[in-house]
Symmetry: C2
C-alpha cells in the first residue's frame, strides 16, 4: 500500500483569496486520497484546530497579480508560489497546484524546479472533451508566442504524456493553424511541421483548424500559448452557452439556438480597409452559405459601407 500523495496548494493564488483553496483542501483531506500542504499567509489560513491530512505552511509574501518576471524572481522567496514549488523541489510534496497567474507560475516554476533536459519552456497542457473522447492541447497559456523549437518541444511533451497515459498507442499530433494546406500559418508553424514530420515517436497529422478540434481524431493539438488560450476559452464560453440553451429549452431555447447556432446566415466576412467593397466567403460554403456572402456584399453596397467608413476615417483624422 502506497502512502497517499502530498500536494502543495498555493492557497493565495486564486482570484478570490484563500477560501476556495481551503474548502477544496478540506474536502480532499476528508477522503484521505491526499495529504495537503496549504501554503500562504498563516493568519488567513487558520483551519479550525488541526485537521487530519492538512498542514499549513506559512508564506507571508504575496505575488502581485501583474508582477514582471524579473520582479517575481528578485523578491519573494517567501511568497506562497515560491514556497509551493520549493516544497516539491525539497521532496516534501509530490505535486503543486495553484490558481495564480500563468506567467508567474511558469517563471517561478522554471527558477525553483528547473526544466526537464532538452526542454526550454514549460507548456501548459489542458484536456478538452470531443465527440470521440478527449484531446490534449499544449500550450494553453504558459507563454504567449512560440518559436519553432518551442512548438516541437510542446509536441514532444504532449506526445510523451499521451504515451504514459495510453501505453502502446502512437500519439496522433497536429498543429493548430488557420488552414489545412502546407502553405498556411506562420514561419514557426511551418518549420515545426517540417520537424514533426520526421519524428518517429509520434504520428504527425499536419494542421488542424479551430472548427475541427471537437471532431478530429487526435491525441495532441500543439499551439502557441496565445492561440491555445483563446481556443480553450472560446470552447469553454461556447459550452456555457450550450448549457444555457439546454437549460432554457422550449420555444425560448429553440429561438435562441437557431440564432446562435446556424452558421450559414453569417457566412461572408468583409475585407475592410480596401478602397472598395470585398467579401470573403468560406472556401467550402454550400449554395445557401454562398448566397449569404453575396447578400452580405449587396447589403454593404446598399448601405454604402465602404465610402461611409472612408468618410468617417477622414473626418476622425481631420478632427484629431
Amino acid at each position: 500500500v502506497h502512502a497517499p500523495p502530498t500536494i502543495a496548494v498555493d492557497a493565495m493564488g486564486g482570484d478570490g483569496g484563500p477560501a476556495i483553496a481551503i474548502d477544496a483542501a478540506l474536502q480532499v483531506a476528508a477522503t484521505g486520497r491526499a495529504r495537503l500542504l496549504l501554503v500562504g499567509d498563516g493568519a488567513q489560513l487558520a483551519v479550525d484546530g488541526s485537521v487530519d491530512g492538512i498542514e499549513i505552511v506559512h508564506a507571508p509574501a504575496q505575488v502581485a497579480p501583474d508582477a514582471a518576471p524579473a520582479a517575481l524572481l528578485r523578491v519573494q522567496a517567501d511568497s506562497s508560489l515560491h514556497r509551493m514549488y520549493a516544497l516539491v523541489r525539497e521532496g516534501r510534496a509530490d505535486a503543486a497546484v495553484s490558481g495564480g497567474n500563468s506567467g508567474a507560475l511558469m517563471t517561478v516554476g522554471r527558477a525553483v524546479l528547473g526544466m526537464l533536459p532538452g526542454i526550454d519552456r514549460p507548456g501548459m497542457l489542458a484536456t478538452l472533451p470531443t465527440l470521440h473522447g478527449s484531446v490534449r492541447m499544449i500550450d494553453v497559456g504558459a507563454s504567449l508566442r512560440a518559436r519553432q523549437v518551442h512548438l516541437v518541444q510542446f509536441a514532444r511533451l504532449g506526445a510523451a504524456c499521451c504515451r504514459v497515459e495510453q501505453p502502446g498507442h502512437v500519439p496522433r499530433v497536429a498543429l493548430l493553424n488557420v488552414g489545412g494546406e502546407a502553405s498556411k500559418g506562420t514561419d514557426a508553424i511551418r518549420a515545426a511541421a517540417a520537424v514533426l514530420r520526421g519524428l518517429g515517436t509520434l504520428d504527425f497529422r499536419g494542421f488542424v483548424e479551430g472548427d475541427a478540434i471537437f471532431e478530429a481524431e487526435l491525441d495532441v493539438i500543439v499551439t502557441d500559448g496565445f492561440a491555445g488560450n483563446v481556443a480553450l476559452k472560446v470552447a469553454e464560453g461556447a459550452a456555457r452557452m450550450a448549457r444555457h440553451l439546454l437549460a432554457l429549452g422550449g420555444a425560448d431555447g429553440g429561438a435562441l439556438a437557431r440564432r446562435l447556432l446556424d452558421v450559414r446566415p453569417r457566412n461572408g466576412a468583409c475585407l475592410l480597409g480596401l478602397a472598395g467593397c470585398a467579401v470573403k466567403s468560406h472556401g467550402n460554403a454550400d449554395r445557401d452559405a454562398f448566397v449569404a456572402a453575396v447578400d452580405r456584399a449587396i447589403a454593404a453596397v446598399v448601405e454604402r459601407l465602404v465610402p461611409r467608413v472612408a468618410a468617417m476615417l477622414a473626418a476622425d483624422a481631420a478632427g484629431g
Copy 2:
C-alpha cells in the same frame, strides 16, 4: 428607384470548383436583387443560354491555392481574382465576393484596389451571434500577426463599420487577450490598448477573454488574424457540436452533453516540462473545480507522469 447592385463573383475561388458559385448566382439573379458578373474560365461557367442578370467575365488563369504573394502579383492579371477586383476598380461592379484563399484575397485586393487613406492592411471582419445580439470580430484571418499600428487600424475600421450600421451609437471595442489585467498579452496588444484608451470615437472596454465573447456587451472585438481565425472557427465548431447535441436529444444527447459541456471536471492544466509536477487551476475556480485540479495533480503523481515523461524524452534523445 435605384438599380440593383452589381456583384463580381470569383467563380473559381471555392474549394470545389465553380458549381456552388454558379448555383448561388442563379438563385440571387432570379430574385433580381443584384446583377452578377461571374468571373472565371468561360468554358466551365457556361450557364444555359443567357440568364437575365448574370454575365460571364472570362478570366482563364487560376490562382494556385498556395501561391506566394510575389507570385500572385507577378503573374496573373487574367486570373479570376484579379479580374474580380479589377471590375470593382473600373466601376463595372459595386462589390466583389470570393471563396478563395484569404492571403490571396488580401494581397491581390491591396494591389488592384488599393487601401483607404491611413490604413496599411485590410482586416477581415466577421460577425458572431451572441447572447445579446452579435459582435464584430476583426481580423479573422486576412493576415496572421498584427503589430500595434495594425490592431489600432482594425479597431478604427471595426468601429467605423459599427457607426455606419448603428448611427449615434458609440462603439464598445475590446482587444482579445489571454486575461483581463493590464499586464496581460503581447507588447503589441498592450501598446494598442494605450492608444485606444485615448481615442474619442469609440468606447474602449479593455481586454476580453475567449470565454466572454458570447456574453460580453461589445460591438467590436479586435485581434490579430491568427487568434481571430482560431476564435471564429472554434466558435463555429462548437456551434456544430451544439446542433449535433440538440439533434440527438434524449438519453444519448444528454449523456454526450454532460461529457462535452461540463467544464469543471477538466479544470487543472499540467505545466509540462518543469522538473516536477505542477498543475494550474483557473483563477476563478469554485470549490469543486479546485478539487478537480487537485485530483489532476493526484492522478499525475499516482501515474508518475513527470518521471515517465522525462524518461521517454531521454530515451527518444538517446535513440535518435
